[in-house]
């Protein structure tokens, strides 16, 4: 289990390969990568604020929950904060299991909980000014299925 909260950009390919290299015998790997959308060129940057300390605690708790619910060989969460440019990776989740259904379910679960229960706040900085990204009702609703 690997959990990283960092400001620096990360290398998606290298992280994926490193995750896979560390596996022993699990045949199914699912990854999710979240990227900064440029909203048709109107976004110049995204600023991500977080709550140091609580962020790590909250993500660790979510990962423990995923480990308890599904048969996972491994899981990884990388989430950035600070100022990010268009098309940069924001975060990445990876899960590995013997059966693909476990890897898929755990990755979706981790994403749903990261969206609404890990203390990050996104601010979009664009030509038209800055705006805090509003939480979506659909993200809160997504939690009810687990």
């Amino acid at each position: 289990m690997q959990l990283v909260v960092q400001e620096d950009r990360f290398d998606i390919g290298r992280e994926t390969e490193g995750f896979i290299a560390g596996l022993a015998g699990a045949g199914a790997v699912v990854t999710f990568i979240g990227l900064v959308r440029d909203n048709g060129g109107r976004l110049s940057a995204m600023e991500i604020e977080h709550y140091p300390g609580m962020t790590e605690r909250a993500i660790a708790a979510i990962m423990e929950e995923a480990k308890a619910r599904w048969s996972l060989a491994d899981a990884m969460v990388i989430h950035r904060h600070g100022r990010l440019g268009p098309d940069e990776p924001i975060m990445m989740v990876a899960t590995a299991a013997i059966h693909r259904a476990d890897a898929f379910a755990a990755a979706e679960f981790l994403m749903d909980y990261l969206k609404s229960r890990a203390p990050f706040w996104k601010k979009e900085i664009g030509a038209d000014g800055t705006e805090w990204v509003a939480a979506k009702d659909s993200d809160e609703a997504a939690l009810t299925r687990w």
Partner: protein, 83 residues
Amino acid sequence: MKIDVLYFAWVRERIGLPREKVETQAETVADLIAELCAREERYAYAFADLPALRVALDQELADFAAPLAGVREVAFFPPMTGG
């Protein structure tokens, strides 16, 4: 008692600072919010729409009725938008 109070995202921007130490006898989160709102306009502005706010006590999500006894750190922020 003295409590660390933290603010994030637009709550931080409205109040104008990321954290402060608050001397309070408030028994619950709601009491603490009432005390802060009575202090200055910027607090009343930040806490105007409570359903749009979340609170964490010692880095665990809680609700506004939660007691503050033994709590060292209270954080106020809007719904999270990670991922």
